[in-house]
């Protein structure tokens, strides 16, 4: 009985941790817009966590620069299971306009498996909420698969 409750809770309170891996700041601002009164992602239980240890969903934006690569991977490793990795914008999937630059080590899927990608440069807040809701669903599935 408790297991079922806890599994359901996973989808209802996903806490986000946002990593900026060399993003141009466009995506970051859109993510913040999602939390403002107009879109209010908190009504679905989303909350920005201050530390990776509290997070369930890791949101990565930016093309993963050489400088940020190790830090991104280390931060993702610090998130306790079950966790879901979401890429925000085109950058982490394809490096976007930064492709071919000497300072870019991306795309992110070279290093870690990605669960949800939200496309766009920058994605609309509606698209971000849609992607995060999908991530919450995947989080629940991962939780059910545990133990």
């Amino acid at each position: 009985m408790f297991k079922k409750l806890i599994d359901n809770a996973a989808a209802k309170s996903p806490w986000l941790f946002h990593i900026n891996a060399g993003s141009c700041n466009g995506c970051d601002i859109e993510l913040v817009a999602v939390l403002t009164p107009r879109y209010d992602a908190e009504r679905l239980g989303f909350k920005l966590a201050g530390t990776p240890r509290h997070a369930d969903i890791v949101v990565v934006s930016g093309p993963v620069t050489v400088q940020s690569k190790d830090r991104v991977l280390r931060t993702i490793e610090q998130v306790p299971d079950p966790k879901v990795i979401v890429t925000l914008g085109s950058c982490p999937r394809s490096c976007n306009v930064f492709k071919g630059s000497y300072s870019v080590a991306g795309p992110l899927d070279k290093y870690v498996p990605i669960d949800v990608s939200i496309a766009g440069c920058a994605p609309k807040p509606e698209a971000i909420i849609d992607g995060l809701a999908l991530a919450a669903k995947i989080l629940k599935e991962k939780r059910e698969a545990m133990k």
């Binding site: 806890i6 809770a9 209802k12 009504r43 679905l44 201050g50 530390t51 369930d56 306790p80 079950p82």
Partner: protein, 320 residues
């Protein structure tokens, strides 16, 4: 001790007003707080059950123990804090229903209430993270900041009991009894500054915005909680919710006590309504309208303005 006595105490400790009820009501208060803050900011806000879902979810997460943490203290700290909070509830009269009573309830409560905060400091320091170290030292400052006005308020209420200023008490039972004769303390003009001071002490003791310097998530990554995850973190979040209940219940006992309708269950329900109202006035309102304070601002504010208010009350009841 008879068997029925033991049974009654077991019910007191485990169900009402002890562990089970305290947890549920605390989570409910936290949910109301979040919902009302959201409505004040013109948001729809999370459902009132959100803190309960957060708690359950954290129970289902992996517990990571940092390699250089002191394992024992790190894992025991949250449970010690929770246990001492539940014990505190047993000493606070809830609409006339007090599970345990001593001659000096307020002193016992004063000591018991520091344990959860100390547990957080110890747990944080045991995690070995520098962020937690900074958070622990900031939490220590905030304890010192609110403890002085808190003690002054308790002294003022204990002294201001009767019109002829005859006796002085630390017993919450006696405070409630006198209030049922002379009316709630909040209507006594001499104690009004103390009530305001107490309303400001509540959010600081609970660690609520704008006085949450120790857990500033945007500056020091939630301070002492930085390394916690899974069940210990869930227990810390639960303690935070229960603290809201404990502090508001204490306020009701000190300032809104002695209101009786003649039926015990109705009194208890009334007391719980008062708790919710006090939560909204003292925590939610401040939370919604202000930004976090700096450490030294907080310290100065509590040792000048808030302590001043409490001291004014103390002098008034002593000499008027």
């Amino acid at each position: 001790m008879e068997f029925t006595d033991i049974l009654i105490y077991a019910v007191y400790i485990l169900i009402f007003p002890g562990a089970l009820f305290t947890c549920l009501f605390g989570l409910w208060l936290a949910g109301v707080d979040r919902k009302v803050v959201a409505r004040m900011q013109k948001r729809k806000g999370p459902p009132i059950s959100q803190p309960a879902w957060d708690f359950l979810k954290l129970c289902g997460k992996e517990t990571v123990i940092p390699a250089h943490a002191a394992r024992g203290v790190y894992l025991a700290a949250p449970y010690i804090g929770l246990a001492s909070l539940i014990v505190t509830v047993l000493f606070i009269p809830l609409g006339g229903l007090q599970a345990f009573s001593t001659g000096a309830d307020t002193v016992v409560i004063l000591y018991l209430l520091t344990i959860p905060t100390l547990a957080m400091i110890f747990g944080g320091s045991a995690s070995g993270s520098p962020f937690a170290g900074v958070g622990a030292s900031r939490t220590m400052v905030s304890i010192m900041a609110y403890e002085l006005p808190f003690i002054l308020v308790i002294l003022a209420v204990g002294k201001g009991m009767t019109p002829d200023g005859y006796y002085f008490t630390f017993s919450l039972e006696q405070i409630t009894n006198v209030q049922s004769v002379f009316g709630p303390n909040i209507f006594d003009w001499r104690l009004l500054p103390a009530a305001v001071a107490m309303l400001l002490v509540i959010p600081c003791e609970v660690g609520q915005h704008p006085f949450d310097v120790g857990e500033a998530e945007t500056e020091i990554c939630e301070g002492p909680l930085v390394e916690y995850s899974g069940k210990p973190l869930a227990v810390f979040k639960l303690s935070h919710a229960i603290k809201m209940f404990v502090m508001t219940a204490l306020f009701c006992a000190l300032f809104l006590g002695g209101i009786t309708t003649g039926m015990l269950w109705l009194d208890v329900v009334l007391a719980l309504c008062f708790c919710t109202a006090v939560t909204l006035v003292s925590m939610t309102l401040l939370n919604a309208i202000s930004a976090r304070w700096r450490v030294e601002q907080l310290f100065k504010f509590f040792w000048t303005v808030v302590s001043g208010l409490a001291l004014a009350s103390l002098l008034l009841v002593w000499f008027c």
